[in-house]
Amino acid sequence: MTSSLTAEGLGKRYGATWALRDCDLQLPTGAVIALVGPNGAGKSTLLQLAAGLVRPTTGAVRLFDEQLPAGSREALAQLGFVAQDHPLYPRFRVKELLRMGAELNVTWDGQVAADRVVQLGIPPDRRVGALSGGEQAQVALTLALAKRPRLLILDEPVASLDPLARREFMQMLMATVADGNLTVLLSSHNVAELERVCDHLVVIAAGRVQLAGDIDSLIEAHSVLTGPNTHVPGGPNVIHVNRGDRQAHVVARTFGAEPMPGWQPHPVGLEELVLAYLRRARSDDQTSEAGLSA
């Protein structure tokens, strides 16, 4: 299997807090991978580690089948990265930003980048600080794509954009994916909008990977079981139980097998699945904290 990113025992500690811990991941190529989790869960840390912007405390992360170390010149040459809030130099004109890209990168498709800027209706002479949020996000994406990267990492790329800008950003991104040879890893704390765009999922909460895999397979392997409140099953395949007065909904790993008698299976939606794992992570966290303080 071809891999775009491999993480082994990856961890990062800031002072006394672990932002990310025991992270083992292997991500495929050619996919659009969603990195989902609540704020402060470790998403940005994982992305910064993958881009070589911070040094891991434990473990390592490597890119592509060649296992290039994150942050090495070889890895950087094939990686596009857009950080949260798409930072750019505000006093630079758009064309100067493109020039910066040309100067700092060996592979650089300057003509495509310039054409794209014009296509977006952004005047190349305008200073970046004078652009709208949506335009800045588009410029940041253009810069990242002009490197012709094999892996594109986007940290909450549309969080601060209005709905129209958001749609236009995704249109450009998906069109580039359709052209081939690109893996996209994008983080968000909004699951619903990722559903139409992503085919692979990583759920992170409390600094740990809770779930990872191809979305279609994950949906197939899980179900929501509805049944009596009194006989709720337990075990490691039960992810989350939602109890009513008489009825309970259980999100569980069923692997397509027949449910127990008395339990109605329903297909699980992506958002429901993610929430179940996040809730499980939160109660695990609370249990372990209670255990520590006891």
Binding site: Q48, A51, G52, L53, V54, R55, E66, Q67, L68, P69, A70, G71, S72, R73, E74, L76, A77, L79, G80, F81, A83, Q84, D85, P87, L88, Y89, P90, F92, E96, R99, M100, G101, E103, L104, N105, V106, T107, A140, L143, K147
Partner: protein, 315 residues
């Protein structure tokens, strides 16, 4: 990479050139006239007389006429350079605050460290090129500036160890600018906030400056001691002395005069400059380690046997 450094710091470069141009204007209008009057009216001899302890030359033997010449010279020319000399010690600090502090702090503040360190150049190369460009530019401008100011200040005092002359000679002035710049850069790296780093530069620079100029400078070598004021002429007297007038000229009231003779000037310049440059280098080395220490270890490609080594050399 060179273009990027230029584009990011061209504001500073223009400011520096403007400063040089302003100095040039001052030198042409004020400095030239001052030098001409100095040579023409024989002010130098009178200065030596007024500053004490030397036999008058034939051109200004009468103390009375010397007083007039000296006084007239001072009134016409001395106020502008003396005022400048009072403010110039703070100029290095301003360089540290305006150029040094934002150099790295602004990248952290704006988040552009995440942009520029994920392009194709490694952090090492980026930092090395930026520092080389900034230091090169600063040193060049400072040397020219200090040369101009030194020339301008020549007529102010006959003693080379006077503050106006010693502080603004090319080596020492450049040293202070480098130290202030290094302080600003390191503060920016550690604090990652431009304004705070600029604020911290002030007391740090003043501490270095006051310690060096007033604490260390008199002690670079053992001063010579004498009771004859004539020996100490032209040198740097490092303690307060009381003279009593006498028919043969001023005479020492009590104790001995401790002084550094004038011929130690360049030696002291070298010592002070070395101290400042070494301090600046240490601060920059710390900043370098901190910036690169937060990043990935890029030499792993060679060490890991499972990785195929690329044909392009590592930076």
């Amino acid at each position: 990479m060179i273009w990027l450094s230029w584009r990011q710091h061209r504001g500073a470069l223009f400011g520096a050139l403007a400063l040089l141009a302003a100095l040039g204007v001052v030198l042409m209008t004020h400095g030239v006239a001052m030098h001409q009057a100095y040579d023409r009216d024989g002010v130098e001899a009178c200065q030596l007389l007024m500053f004490g302890g030397v036999e008058a030359t034939t051109e200004a033997s009468a103390e009375g006429s010397c007083f007039t010449i000296f006084d007239s010279f001072e009134n016409r020319f001395a106020s502008l350079p003396t005022n400048a000399a009072a403010w110039l010690p703070f100029l290095p600090m301003v360089v540290g605050m305006l150029l040094g502090a934002p150099l790295l702090a602004r990248e952290y503040e704006q988040g552009t460290w995440q942009l520029v360190w994920t392009q194709g150049v490694t952090r090492t190369r980026w930092l090395a090129t930026k520092l080389a460009a900034v230091l090169g530019g600063v040193v060049t401008v400072t040397v020219l500036f200090a040369a101009g100011v030194s020339w301008w200040f020549e007529p102010l005092s006959p003693h080379r160890f006077s503050p106006e002359k010693f502080n603004h000679a090319v080596p020492v002035f450049t040293g202070y600018v480098l130290v202030a710049l290094a302080i600003g850069i390191l503060a920016g790296v550690l604090l990652r906030r431009t304004l705070v780093a600029a604020a911290v530069t002030i007391p740090a620079y003043l501490a270095v400056r006051l310690t060096t100029e007033f604490g260390l400078r008199p002690r670079y070598r053992e001063p010579l001691s004498t009771t004859d004021p004539a020996e100490a002429v032209g040198g740097w007297i490092i303690q307060d002395v009381i003279f009593t007038p006498s028919p043969d000229g001023p005479v020492l009231a009590s104790g001995t005069i401790d002084y550094h003779p004038d011929d130690r000037f360049w030696q002291f310049q070298a010592i002070e400059t070395t101290i400042l440059v070494v301090l600046a280098a240490v601060l920059l080395a710390i900043a370098w380690r901190v910036v690169l220490g937060r990043g990935p270890r890029v030499h792993d490609v060679r060490r890991d046997p499972s990785v195929s080594v690329s044909s392009s050399p590592l930076p």
